[in-house]
Symmetry: C2
């Protein structure tokens, strides 16, 4: 049997290799690098093929495919969301992704994306806040202290200058885990016993809860003037985190309206309720925060272009020498029409 040609081998970045990459680059520079890639792609948003993700729902979770293309590269992510998984010791969200060459259709990168999604979600939130949060924001509340919480804290520290984090979770063990993980990162940490306590003095409130059954994390009276809301956890039909009255008082910014109207906080509103697309703010075509006393809401559900940006960041690292495996994933006979002959010569027929 002859060895597969270079064309047939697809670079694969494993979980261990992604951890090495984060360690080598440093989490903060990597969050900054990812935010830069996402920002650059938001600026050229109109060049992308866009479609709401393709979701397969079951009673206990969802499996989604999130494709996009800029005409040169094609990318997609596989991602699940199973809030009950933690009870079995499994991740709520796992993911992997792929980039391919549009000109040939050949894959050029396969990568773990459980870690990468955590980073890109936090980078996107912080990018949005750069345009939407009050300029002098230094204190952020994080409600929901699961797998995403520390990444949010680090991204807002790195990109927005947040110095104080106020933590709350219905499970105090999650809050302790989060505080322990963040203790040497130069952040002032306040562990709170209630969500009401957590939002005291916070100019930014991040909600990143996972469970469908706690559908109203913030009520109207908890959100005062001049606050930026970063709603990360409401991301599928029937799952929201904010009371509807808060939405009615907010300037709402979204990634891709056709998807957010199905999955985001705004599923609680009329289908024609005005929203602003975040890319337009990034591209200078729409205003972000207008009024220091206003409430801004980034109704984040995660969009395919953010994953595309993150995968391209990883591909650039691989091309610059980052460690990866090479997967024998594509059959590649010498004569492309001779797939059967390849089997014959391998002794398989």
């Amino acid at each position: 049997m002859t060895a597969p040609s270079d064309r047939a081998l697809v670079p694969f970045v494993s979980v261990a290799q992604m951890m090495s990459l984060i360690g080598r680059i440093g989490l903060k520079p990597m969050l900054r690098g990812l935010a830069d890639e996402i920002e650059a792609d938001f600026r050229r948003w109109e060049m992308f093929d866009k479609t709401p993700r393709v979701a397969s729902h079951s009673d206990i979770g969802v499996i989604e495919l999130m494709p996009t293309s800029d005409g040169e590269s094609y990318g997609f992510k596989y991602v699940n969301g199973h809030p009950g998984n933690t009870h079995q010791g499994l991740q709520t969200v796992t993911a992997f992704g792929l980039l391919a060459d549009v000109a040939t259709g050949y894959p050029i990168l396969l990568s773990e994306m459980t870690l990468l999604t955590a980073l890109r979600t936090a980078a996107t939130s912080a990018l949005a806040a750069k345009y939407l949060a009050p300029r002098d924001a230094r204190c952020m509340a994080i409600i929901g202290n699961g797998a995403q919480a520390e990444f949010q804290a680090m991204a807002f520290q790195t990109l927005c200058g947040i110095t104080e984090i106020r933590l709350y979770d219905i499970d105090p063990a999650a809050t302790r885990k989060c505080a322990e993980n963040l203790r040497n990162q130069g952040l002032s940490l306040v562990l709170c016993a209630t969500a009401e306590e957590a939002v005291q003095g916070a100019q930014i409130i991040t909600t990143c809860t996972a469970d469908k059954q706690y559908a109203t994390i913030l009520t109207d009276n908890m959100v005062g003037a001049g606050v930026h809301l970063n709603a990360v956890g409401g991301d599928c039909p029937g799952k929201t985190e904010l009371h509807r009255d808060i939405l009615l008082r907010s300037s709402i910014f979204v990634e891709y309206p056709p998807q957010t109207r199905i999955e985001g906080e705004i599923q609680a509103l009329e289908a024609d309720h005005p929203v602003t697309e975040l890319w337009q703010v990034v591209a200078g075509r729409a205003e972000g925060r207008r009024d220091p006393a206003g409430i801004t809401l980034f109704d984040s559900v995660g969009f395919a272009i953010e994953d595309f940006s993150a995968l391209r960041y990883v591909l650039n690292q691989v091309r610059a020498g980052a460690e990866c495996d090479l997967l024998d994933m594509l059959a590649d006979p010498d004569d492309p029409r001779d797939l059967f002959g390849m089997l014959l010569r391998a002794g398989a027929v």
Copy 2:
């Protein structure tokens, strides 16, 4: 850094391992096994989540995602179609696929599918012919002698008792390649100089051409009474192989109408032109061939359930000991909420 847990490791069947598997099982038994799996899933068609594939078109090709689920397992295939690839020594079609557990969203198999798609496409064609072709069919014409041709010949020999194959391609080198590959397989082979010559005496006509520019492979006068047409190559918008007049004389069988109306031969007909779903014939709910003198047409475009069946076949082989690699693809911290802690403990933060 601790080793990933079993949960994090996804079995991966490479191209070399797929060739070994085909060699160990034997191509004919494997075609039969795949056809059995596909037939079993066609019988329970209504249990599946079905959606037309998600296509990303460019000027020179298409990249598609084909998801489906039976409520227990979820599967999808990535596949491209780039007719111009052969000019660069690349495959027109490459593919890989994945199965996941619906209950957790965790992937359970990643597999090459360039070879597997070639096998499942041929197995599906032969399965359809079992229900649609004349009972005494022994002679098949194959027009288009590219990568799919030999697999069609072997599947029809194995599943339908075809003994004579008449080959034609606009490129005589392709026909010679095909005949050379099939020469020790117990088939009588006739190399033809024209499509008209190839269809002489054939009870089954298989068209499997790849290039968009030769849009009418068969004209009306070439198709006589009692013939079964197996149209494999017309499978994307703007790409068909049969003259419209043939369609008007045929009983048309399709996989999944919402997809076939976009991609198949029937894109040339009115949107309400009557067609029969193949699964209904397999399940005994609709008639297949009614009249020995009639023309039947399997307007095949390939559907996600066929890939799902093929992936399950491979998963069963892996579970029975077939060779595979284990990919460290899913981040899996001890405490599922502690993704950040996994990075910390790995020294990555």
